[in-house]
């Protein structure tokens, strides 16, 4: 994928990735986590910031490090690495707020052609999964490696 990204570090099970966001607010440690649902081969994708002075992470903080595109491209790469190992996995992502979900939707729309070379992409709207289309507001996203 052609976008600029941060260097990813991953644990051997490829369920957890870490990277460091760099910007006007300094360095912020980020984590990307894949968590398996009981349901078939579905995984939840979530990412967030490390809470300073603890071993916990927070997915609701808006860190505003002027690098959200680079962050989302880094997350997309983690999905690519994860699905390279787990080709039958379905990955669901939801935003912690409406505005963040919209941010994901815009980022997917902007890079749709490139993303579609790797993934089948669905959006969740009115309690239904439909094939992702630009300019539609979705509540969640689901991808599977092609």
């Amino acid at each position: 994928m052609s976008l600029e990204r941060y260097q990813l570090e991953a644990y051997e099970d490829l369920m957890t990735f870490e990277f460091i966001s760099k910007g006007p607010k300094g360095e912020i440690q980020k984590i990307i986590v894949f968590s398996k649902f009981e349901k078939r081969n579905y995984y939840n994708l979530a990412f967030g910031d490390k809470i300073e002075g603890s071993n916990d992470f927070d997915d609701e903080t808006v860190s505003n490090n002027d690098d959200y595109q680079k962050i989302l491209a880094t997350v997309a790469k983690a999905v690519l690495i994860f699905t390279d190992k787990n080709k039958d996995a379905w990955i669901i992502a939801t935003g912690s707020t409406k505005s963040r979900t919209r941010l994901y939707q815009i980022a997917i729309s902007k890079n749709l052609l490139e993303l579609q070379t790797y993934f089948d992409i669905y959006g969740y709207k009115d309690k239904k999964w439909i094939k992702f289309e630009k300019n539609m507001a979705y509540e969640a996203f689901l991808v599977k490696r092609k």
């Binding site: 644990y11 990735f17 939840n44 979530a46 997915d59 690519l80 390279d84 939801t94 999964w129």
Partner: protein
């Protein structure tokens, strides 16, 4: 200790740093609220790997046997976000009848089937195609 690796033959996926040792977070629950939100969505929706998902994507549905009508009723009901109970109430029948109708529609009268689709605000059409 870390090691730089390339896990794939796909050159599009660049190398990343692999951390040695067990994932210290493997037993830790992160982002629980988001997980539960996603779990609720998955449990309430027909998923793309469900056998009848593709057919549900289509607005025009064809049936090849009388038993398919049950699936057609179920899918239409789900598209309308109506529970079996709510549909039963609208039709003034027991929920068990709707459960049975979706599984075994063969014994339902044509008049009742038409009424079910009317209540679901769905138009039904019959195409008679003469075979050569």
């Amino acid at each position: 200790m870390t090691e730089k690796i390339n896990t794939t033959e796909n050159t599009e996926i660049k190398d990343f740093i692999l951390k040695k040792g067990q994932n210290p977070y493997s037993d830790k629950v992160f982002f629980q609220k988001k997980f539960e939100k996603a779990e609720a969505i998955l449990s309430e929706s027909l998923l793309p790997d469900d056998p009848n998902f593709e057919e549900n994507l289509s607005t025009s549905k064809q049936i090849d046997s009388i038993s398919s009508i049950g699936l057609l009723i179920k899918n239409t009901r789900l598209e309308r976000n109506i529970t079996q109970e709510a549909l039963a109430q609208k039709l003034n029948v027991e929920k068990a009848l709707i459960v049975d109708l979706e599984k075994n529609p063969q014994s339902a009268t044509m008049a009742f089937l038409v009424k079910v689709f009317q209540v679901l605000n769905a138009k039904i059409t019959f195409d008679v195609i003469l075979q050569p």
